[in-house]
């Protein structure tokens, strides 16, 4: 069991890291050679390789540099420090979670109304789809500016951008979920003279649970993206997005990569947490075969 999952994962990871190291040499050697030429030094191949791994501002930082920066910015720094990724991660996470909760609730409510009303089905769905075709990068600054002009800044605007991205997968998933029962199931309830409300609570809601968790997984990842994008136009104040922006202002590639990895780890943990909730819930419902 362990070797069956661990071995493939370890193999792929090793390949990715190996490829990364090769690319580090390829991308950074130009600068190394340039420096050597200026000081009139001939470099051996081994020396070139060694130098590409330890530049201050590499084009592509090496894996161990990124790992070190991650360690330094999480464990070694105090959480309250402006350079701590835990601090910035928390700022992003709080906006993500608030946006996710708003977006998911909105998504479920919209799905309920779409399933129950033809007008909502015809009227809302096209708008929901259209909303997702607008690049969030173009929309985010406007949301920030507009809300700022009415005195709302900080957490709320970012959460709204998060919600904007995360409601959509929830709407789509839950509409399919609520509609997943077969005609026969609906007919059976009609023979009991069940009300629409009873059909909804006894059949549609439990049938949609597996769909809910799948949508939530996509939704929370989208929420995180939304929060990070929402942090970009605020001028690098706080959050992982701010770290990314500051890193690119000052050419701190290692800092950018560390922030990227922090975001990826955060996303993976959030999706993993929902996956765990999914397993527990389905097990309780007897649907964990």
């Amino acid at each position: 069991m362990l070797t069956r999952t661990l071995l493939p994962v370890a193999t792929v990871s090793a390949m990715v890291i190996a490829f990364w190291y090769v690319m580090v040499v390829v991308m950074n050697s130009a600068w190394t050679l340039d420096q050597a030429k200026r000081s009139g030094i001939e470099l051996q191949f081994g020396e070139i390789v060694a130098d590409t791994m330890q530049q201050d501002r590499p084009r592509l930082p090496s894996p161990h540099q990124v790992g070190l920066e991650l360690w330094d910015a999480t464990v070694a720094k105090k959480i309250t420090s402006r350079r701590s990724l835990v601090f910035h991660g928390w700022v992003t996470l709080s906006a993500t979670m608030l946006g996710f909760v708003i977006g998911s609730l909105l998504g479920v409510l919209l799905a309920v109304s779409i399933v129950h009303s033809r007008v909502m089905d015809m009227g809302v769905m096209p708008w929901a789809i259209a909303s997702q075709t607008i690049p969030i990068l173009a929309l985010a600054p406007m949301i920030i500016v507009i809300l700022n002009s009415v005195g709302i800044s900080g957490l709320i605007p970012k959460a709204i951008i998060s919600a904007y991205l995360s409601f959509f997968p929830v709407v789509v998933g839950m509409v399919s979920g609520f509609r997943s029962p077969e005609f026969m199931q609906i007919d059976l309830l009609r023979t009991y003279n069940a009300t629409k409300r009873q059909v909804f609570w006894k059949l549609r809601i439990p049938a949609s649970v597996p769909f809910l968790f799948t949508s939530l997984k996509i939704g929370i990842a989208a929420s995180l993206v939304g929060a990070i994008v929402g942090e970009l136009p605020t001028g690098a104040v706080a959050g992982l997005g701010a770290r990314l922006l500051a890193g690119s202002y000052y050419g701190q590639t290692t800092q950018i990569w560390a922030a990227l990895f922090a975001a990826a780890i955060l996303a993976a943990s959030l999706v993993g947490a929902i996956g765990m909730l999914q397993r527990l819930t389905l097990a309780r419902m007897g649907m964990d075969r």
Partner: protein, 261 residues
């Protein structure tokens, strides 16, 4: 008991047309049928002969376009509100997230029975179909035949006196099917319910029924109604007796003549 003078289902000049993409389909034409209380009537015929549609009209799941249907002396819609029938579909349709006993309880929850009454009725129905001991299992832990028995218990638990069954054993293998047929027959004898049973199988129809309605397609209509005088006591071996084979022969002939035109 409702007052319906011993007639459970009565169809007069019943007709039903569907407007589909492929044009107008006449699912039922001039169907006249009277089912007395306590009868076991099978509807048999090729696919598209309207036997399922007929059952759905009885259950008020379809609206006839001409003629009248009465169930226990009421319109089908009133009959549904009066819980006159239990419906068993070809698939058991059990909820995977409910245990067997909670699945059987579903109609009782919807109809608003109190807790104690629900518990008593669920247990009775489960005992009646021989699923005692499986109350807390989930549907996927049971065989197909047991799942179908659970769905019959679900149809029985609210004491409807008509049982509408749409090819309930159609998806099961021969051996399981034989056992369930035996079971259904003894259940019918014990409860005295009226059963309308849709099937594809001639032996099944003859074995179970007091009367067999032979139907034909395009348009869906009744071509023959055959009495099945085998008596109430029917061991499985009865299927090898000359009386049984004679009835089966008549049904087969009826199906064939309906097929020729």
């Amino acid at each position: 008991m409702p007052e319906h003078s011993g007639i459970a289902i009565e169809a007069r000049e019943l007709g039903l047309r569907f407007d589909t993409k492929d044009g107008d389909i006449e699912a039922l034409r001039d169907v006249n049928l009277t089912v007395r209380s306590g009868e076991f009537v099978s509807l048999i015929g090729p696919s598209g002969c309207g036997k399922t549609t007929f059952l759905r009209v009885v259950a008020a799941l379809e609206e006839p376009t001409s003629g009248t249907m009465s169930v226990n002396g009421m319109t089908p819609d009133e009959a549904r509100r009066a819980r006159a029938y239990g419906y068993v579909f070809q698939a058991s349709g059990l909820y995977p997230w409910r245990t067997i006993s909670r699945n059987v309880r579903l109609p009782l929850e919807i109809m608003g029975f109190n807790r104690a009454e629900m518990a008593r009725r669920v247990q009775d129905a489960i005992d009646m179909v021989g699923l005692s001991g499986f109350e807390r299992r989930f549907p996927w832990q049971l065989s197909g035949g047991m799942q179908q028995r659970a769905s019959i218990a679900r149809a029985l638990c609210f004491d409807a006196d008509i049982l509408l069954m749409d090819e309930p054993f159609g998806a099961l293998d021969e051996i399981v099917r034989d056992r369930l047929n035996e079971h259904l027959l003894s259940l019918w004898r014990r409860t005295g319910k009226t059963v309308a049973f849709v099937t594809h199988s001639i032996p099944e129809a003859v074995y179970l029924s007091t009367r067999i309605v032979v139907m034909s397609s395009r348009p869906g209509r009744i071509t023959d109604v055959i009495e099945c005088p085998l008596g109430p006591d029917r061991p499985l071996e009865i299927r090898d007796t000359p009386e049984f084979l004679e009835v089966a022969q008549r049904v087969r002939a009826g199906l064939r003549s309906g097929h020729d035109d």
